[in-house]
């Protein structure tokens, strides 16, 4: 079997070829070409044809017909073409939605979760209690130019007045769709089913294309996002994609519905979490945005940090985090005024790459802050359902740890997956490895991997029609194992004993030692090598079994190995400039981050 998959991004269309070789699916060739959604070409299929033509040249198979379409061969045929062609898309700004719900922390949040899970960028969330006055809300709705609106509100059988009130605000505001002209703005209602008649009446005369699905919060205790998410995908295809240049043709070319890129990434991560029975966090840091995905206890969450990225949004990362926070990761001398101008120059010329060592160090420092900010936003969003009555003990009353209520618990995280330019194209695996550990601060034992060539979107769509092929390629060609991080939770005292460890392989002791607070140690353990790692934390530090209790675990090596991290959680830096630089330099050296460092 031969599968061609494309991902039409804002700037590049990436094509991959997947083939069944000796009964196993493998990704064999990769090609790319500039995306052609914008003027002057304004036809996405030209970029698709160009990227698949390059795939054709690399593979030697004939994949493109004279008219530029992707050739599909007859079932069982060994001839030209492919058996399946699939695609994802985030071109033209992806899917942009406005969502609304009655209570910000409840139905509005569920609506936002549904939209994000479907792969949308949420432009704004309107709620009856969002602290804006009604005329301010109406003004905001009028300013937005969404592709689609999702309205939720009220539990089934509950009070319907508030959600009708919300609809009565949205309808006369007449939000104008991005594509303008005769386009009727798609509006999905997923709220209290008792008021469907009112909703139909309100939106019938206002130039909306209304569709009604099951309530996404039928009871306070239950969230039912499936129907809304599916409808978002359908509307994305029927309305949004059909109005984007060339997509009418592309829809006909593909064997499965075109999915928004982040939606497809979410699907493959959910598949992997389900198959391996693990908790996963995945990140895709791009030029403009950072997408975070998590699956904890089977619950999927996605967030998009719209203005945290490494090129278009790099200036915003520095503004939001503060230059001081960025520079704390830097172990070299740098001039701040010069750096500020460089950041702006990267913003206005986003396609440039670091040429010097100093530029790379600074870029990776910015990436750490972008990821930390995006992860904090994700943890705050990925919570248990709010509005549900819970029994609390006296002990809970005094617990006020950061991210309380978040289901993303670093101690329970099994696998952390990195993707996106700054992580995928870092010159050394060690850079990606330490960058992920510094940014996400995993605790306990955590495996870290990276997406080799960002093929998770392709595999997400593939999973919808051939799950086996998607899983096989994901395991063998997509994920590059970098290694493991073992880090206790709790505050350490710099220079005082923090933990001791032993790493034993099949043929005996590989490494052992004691680490003081603030230290890290890298032990090389290659891909496929198995070993048992035992970590014995000092009093007050927790590896997952309770403070001071030893924990051992069987792990498998990666391109980097195992990092024993005694810096404590959360990470702290010495207050003085010289002390901080010395400490960061020691980390860089211990983790062999830069050649000759």
């Amino acid at each position: 079997m031969r599968i061609v998959a494309t991902d039409c991004g804002s700037t590049t269309t990436k094509a991959i070829l997947i083939e069944e070789i000796d009964g196993v699916f493998r990704q064999t060739f990769r090609a790319e070409a500039p995306t052609t959604v914008e003027e002057p070409l304004a036809d996405v299929t030209i970029g698709v044809t160009n990227s698949v033509t390059e795939l054709q040249e690399l593979s030697g198979y004939t994949l493109i017909a004279d008219d530029g379409t992707v050739i599909r061969r007859a079932a069982g045929s060994k001839g030209d073409g492919c058996d399946v062609y699939i695609s994802t898309s985030s071109a033209g700004g992806g899917l942009q939605m406005m969502v609304a719900g009655v209570v910000r922390e409840m139905t509005a949040e569920s609506a936002k979760r549904a939209a994000l899970g479907a792969g949308a960028i949420v432009m704004d969330t309107i709620a009856s209690n969002d602290r804006r006055r009604p005329h301010e809300q109406i003004q905001r709705i009028r300013e937005l130019r969404p592709d689609m609106v999702l309205i939720s509100g009220g539990t089934d059988g509950g009070d319907g007045k508030k959600v009708v009130e919300l609809a009565e605000l949205i309808a006369p505001a007449r939000p104008r769709p991005r594509f303008g002209g005769e386009y009727r703005l798609p509006l999905i209602f997923a709220g209290n089913k008792a008021v469907r008649g009112d909703i139909e009446r309100i939106f019938s005369a206002e130039g909306f294309a209304l569709s009604i699905v099951d309530n996404l919060r039928p009871t306070l205790e239950q969230e039912n996002l499936g129907p809304a998410r599916e409808r978002i995908h359908d509307v994305f295809l029927e309305h949004v994609m059909a109005h984007a240049p060339g997509y009418d043709k592309l829809i006909e070319w593909t064997n499965a519905p075109i999915m928004p890129t982040p939606g497809a990434v979410g699907d493959i991560l959910q598949t992997i979490a389900r198959e391996r029975k693990i908790n996963v966090v995945g990140v895709d840091i791009g030029g403009a945005t950072t997408d975070l995905f998590s699956v904890f206890g089977g619950v999927f969450n996605r967030t998009v940090s719209a203005n945290l990225g490494m090129s278009y949004s790099v200036s915003n990362v520095c503004a939001e985090a503060g230059m001081e926070q960025v520079l704390r990761w830097v172990h070299l001398d740098m001039d701040e005024r010069e750096l500020r101008n460089r950041v702006k120059n990267k913003m206005i010329r986003p396609t440039t790459i670091p040429q010097t060592h100093e530029a790379l160090v600074f870029e990776q420092a910015v990436a750490r802050e972008a990821l930390r900010l995006a992860y904090a936003q994700h943890r705050a969003f990925a919570t248990k359902l709010k509005g549900v009555q819970q029994q609390r003990t006296v002990g809970d009353t005094f617990r006020q740890d950061e991210g309380a209520g978040s289901i993303v618990d670093p101690m329970l995280l099994d696998l952390l997956v990195a993707s996106g330019g700054v992580l995928s194209h870092a010159p050394r695996f060690e850079q990606t490895f330490l960058l992920m550990i510094d940014s996400f601060e995993p605790t306990g034992f955590t495996e870290i991997a990276k997406d080799s060539i960002f093929m998770m979107p392709h595999l997400g769509v593939l999973a919808s029609i051939n799950p086996r092929a998607a899983m096989e390629v994901f395991e063998r060609d997509c994920l590059v194992p970098l290694g493991w991080c073992a880090a206790p939770k709790g505050d350490v005292r710099i220079g005082k004993p923090a933990l001791s460890f032993e790493l034993r392989g099949a043929s005996g002791m590989i490494a052992q030692g004691t680490l003081s607070g603030g230290q890290i140690r890298l032990v090389r353990l290659g891909v496929g090598e198995r070993a048992t790692l035992e970590v014995r934390p000092e009093r007050g530090l927790d590896m997952g079994a309770g403070a001071g209790k030893p924990v051992s675990r069987t792990i498998e090596g990666g391109q980097v190995g195992v990092l024993i991290d005694a810096r404590g959680r959360p990470l702290h830096f010495p207050a003085d400039h010289a002390g901080r630089r010395t400490m960061v330099a020691s980390w860089v050296q211990a983790a062999e981050v830069y050649e000759g460092a």
Binding site: S10, T11, P34, V37, E38, E39, P40, A91, G92, G93, P134, H135, I138, Q139, R142, K161, V164, E165, E168, L169, P172, R176, V195, D198, A288, N307, Y312, S313, S315, N316, C318, A319, E320, R337, E338, R340, N341, R342, V343, K344, N345, K346, M347, I348, R349, P350, T351, T352, I353, P354, Q355, T356, H357, A359, L360, H425, P427, R428, Y594, E595
Partner: protein
């Protein structure tokens, strides 16, 4: 492979400039094909829906929502002023009546028996679209707008703030490396598009604003100065709607950086002519760069410029600008395009090219770090 694809900024002494001028919502187009228009001529106009003001009438009257409609004194479509009584309760034996009053001037848009809310629609807002450049109307899109065309000199900047503006082009420097200081701004520059070579300083921008200069065009600007002008740190380069009383355009980038000689010489040659400028920049999918357009009497080139990004191919000999440190801002020409990727000082493997700089030295840079200087 001896070619590479890289985006560039357009600097053209003579081209056919074409611009689409469209209304945000359908309206009336005021010009016809063939008409000659000035930059400030109104091309099309329309009205935007007025603002919406909700009044919780039922709760103001203290009645259930379903009882509101018969208590309304004003009906859908009626005009109201601020403070007008729009609904009134029956009271007790006609006494102690409570009232709901209008919170805005406008018309009654809807009365809801479900929520008890009355929506008022404020007056419409007029919107006009002007020609932006002096030229000829070559196409009319009914109810949407028109396309204006003119022979022109055309320069794309790299970054700008502030929207559309126009005025005579005035030089404030004699050399491309000379910074624009406050001393170079004079009262005679009121309403003009002023250009200099190097960096525009914060003091110069302040002086230009106080004099009433229409726009400043320079090689560079310091990030700290931009922050002062805007009042905040710019996070994402989507600009054009700032209300700062002036349009600012830089042609090279951030920092102390001289304007490319070619751009500077072209501007010098156009001094005194009417220029139309737009600082709007959008660096996302659908790139928009700021632009300086100077309409000419006639065009000596067959090329066509229109709003949007340009792109082209690199060959040996192509003039380019280096757009990242350590050689940021230097100009030269491609001297070699090695086929195989090379390891950079950062450790990354990337495709590179060799550049012969203006001083005759050769440097190697990643292909991603240069841009074409397009004519």
């Amino acid at each position: 492979m001896t070619k590479a694809y890289t985006p560039g900024l357009k600097v053209s002494a003579s081209t056919t400039y074409r611009v689409r001028r469209l209304l945000p919502v359908p309206g009336d187009v005021r010009v016809q094909v063939g008409a000659r228009v000035q930059a400030d001529a109104v091309i099309a106009e329309t009205f935007l829906d007025g603002d919406v003001f909700p009044v919780k009438a039922a709760s103001l009257l203290g009645v259930p929502p379903g009882e509101l409609p018969p208590l309304m004194l004003k009906q859908i479509g009626d005009t109201v002023q601020i403070g007008d009584v729009i609904a009134q309760s029956k009271g007790i034996f006609g006494m102690m009546r409570t009232q709901a009053k209008s919170t805005a001037a406008g018309t009654i848009e809807s009365i809801s028996g479900t929520t008890g809310m009355v929506l008022l629609r404020g007056p419409q807002t007029p919107v006009q679209v002007r020609a932006f450049v002096c030229g000829e109307v070559v196409e009319v899109m009914p109810r949407e707008g028109a396309v204006i065309e003119t022979p022109a000199a055309f320069i794309q900047g790299i970054f700008g703030v502030g929207g559309e503006s126009w005025g005579p082009l005035v030089a404030a420097a004699a050399q491309p490396a000379e910074d624009l200081t406050a001393q170079r701004i004079t009262p005679a520059m009121k309403g003009a598009v002023v250009f200099a070579g190097g960096r525009m300083t914060a003091e110069a921008i302040a002086a230009a604003r106080s004099v009433g200069v229409a726009a400043l065009v320079c090689g560079g600007i310091d990030d700290a100065d931009l922050k002062d002008v805007l009042g905040h740190d710019l996070g994402v380069a989507v600009t054009g709607s700032e209300r700062i009383g002036i349009t600012l355009i830089v042609t090279e980038g951030f920092g102390s950086i001289a304007m490319a000689r070619r751009t500077f010489d072209l501007l010098i040659s156009l001094s005194g002519k009417q220029a139309s400028v737009n600082g709007a920049t959008q660096i996302r999918a659908g790139v928009i760069r700021p632009e300086i357009t100077v309409p000419l009497a006639e065009c000596s080139s067959a090329s066509v410029a229109s709003r949007g990004a340009t792109a082209g191919l690199l060959h040996v000999g192509t003039p380019i600008r280096i757009i990242r440190d350590p050689y940021f801002g230097l100009i030269g020409s491609v001297s070699c395009l090695p086929e195989k990727p090379e390891v950079l000082a950062s450790g990354s493997l990337a495709r590179v090219l060799e550049v012969k700089l203006e001083d005759g030295t050769h440097v190697t840079v990643p292909r991603a770090n240069v841009e074409l200087m397009e004519g």
